[in-house]
Symmetry: C3
Subunit: 219 residues, 3 copies
């Protein structure tokens, strides 16, 4: 109702759409996934982080089920990506950009939601980060990929930075739409820098006995 909750709904739905596109584009790279699978993975990616957050703060049913628009936008993004597939396939980089945009929007929305539910600032940062990385992590587990959050330090960290800015602003009572935009931009920027960084310098932590993990291909 208030300006704050309208802003949050807009952020949530925008993040839902871009994460849904990302999830669908990722799904279409997986063998044997049909259109139902694409829509399901779009919805999981788009709504998973927020659902985990809402379950953990006890806001049940989660926003994704209280308001039909979330399911419609998340699943609709999957259909949109499927229909316009040939367009997206040419824009391989867009998968990563949509992911960074969703990460940015969700870490901000998740932190404000957790703080509004009276969780402490530290826990709000963690929940904001989970809101950002949760959907993609569930998607990766379902399609049997090692979740990005485990192998790329600059996936959780940008979300945590954005969430921290939001939590500090909320704790010291100077949170505003401008801060929200700044926090989202901070997260997005660090993430995109991280993507470039990873292309050149794998920030992995090589195991001394890599054979133990079997035949996983490096991405």
């Amino acid at each position: 109702m208030s300006a704050g909750s309208t802003l949050q709904l807009a952020l949530d739905l925008a993040g839902t759409f871009v994460f849904g596109l990302n999830g669908a584009l990722t799904a279409m790279d997986v063998e044997n996934v049909d259109i139902v699978g694409v829509v399901v993975l779009a919805a999981i990616t788009a709504l998973g982080g927020g659902i985990i957050r809402d379950v953990l703060i006890g806001a049940l049913p989660p926003a994704a089920f209280r308001d039909w628009r979330y399911l419609a936008v998340g699943g609709g993004a999957g259909i949109a990506a499927f229909v316009a597939r040939r367009l997206w396939v040419r824009l391989q980089r867009s998968i990563t950009m949509f992911d960074a945009a969703g990460l940015a929007l969700f870490c901000v929305a998740g932190t404000t939601t957790a703080f509004a539910a009276h969780l402490g600032p530290f826990q709000s940062v963690v929940l904001g980060t989970i809101t950002g990385v949760g959907g993609g992590t569930v998607r990766d587990v379902v399609i049997r990929r090692v979740p990005t959050v485990l192998s790329s330090g600059l996936y959780a960290i940008p979300a945590a930075c954005g969430a921290t800015l939001v939590a500090v602003a909320l704790g010291f009572h100077f949170y505003s739409g401008g801060i929200a935009v700044a926090a989202a931009a901070l997260c997005f920027s660090i993430r995109m820098v991280g993507v470039h960084f990873d292309l050149n310098v794998p920030a992995s932590h090589p195991s001394e006995n890599p054979t133990a993990t079997g035949s996983r291909d490096r991405p």
Copy 2:
């Protein structure tokens, strides 16, 4: 207490048993899974969908933990399948049939439960479908298979059809035991047709770059 809730309990326990059998039979095809693993996977398959539904609608503890019979029936189905293993191994098709029966019973029970918890009809259909496909999906993730819901369009769609019939009947006040049976039969029939269809015409969506997903064997 009412006839409706008695019917729902009966549907839930019947679905729990057949999904438990299905989960146990699936588990026994996986290398290195012992009897504890068989019982655990039977319970996950049998109770996972309903637990996810109950968590999402905030009905906590979930029915599976409010009433000890769910855990007993789900785990007991695992023991029954384990003990009579040689019988079941000969009936390979029974795995698929039990899965379709559980899917049918759970999509009906899940939709009515969600509707009774005051979720909108669209969300009730989604939750009914999740109740149907959730347990098997969690089971597949745990044993590292690509979930059926992603690769077979005619797994989620039958459940969604049955759930839609139930939601329409509930919304227009003509829901009855007969409608429940019809919706379950609708779901079961579409699913079994889908199984035959898949045998002949793989409805997959082949990726243009299948090598990206590594060495996963086609089923």
Copy 3:
């Protein structure tokens, strides 16, 4: 506030730390996991079982988010393991011992928490066992290993034995700190005996068609 809840907090934090160490050490054996991944997997292993329990009994937000010390101890164990890595790598056996200690502490704490939330004794045993095995199971799913609970009978069973002793003591009103210690020791002992047993006599349930499950290496 009472002695009972202080004991429970101490058990929970001790279990959180040892499970966090175990999760971090496991994570460092996985290729490509960086320090963020190590901390995330430490926290998942340490807090996953308790979070699942708290969600299922409806105690939201979970203890792991109500009290910042859980997140700090779980994540801190990850950092401690990462920093002192070379020390731990030499102590390969310590991974298993920490896991058994966490299992013992968590099955006791989980059963008392579930019982205090008015669940029946049977369900309390199941939830106590889930509290013990849940975090490691989620960790294994995320890093794409077959969960120990499925392939090693003497992983869930020790937890269930400890949980049963606690539930019986609670049900017959003779629960005490001594019983808690005895139940934890019972779980720990059976688990460690099970580890030795598994080294010599694989308690697995070999499939008649092992090729169906692909190229998974036997441990």
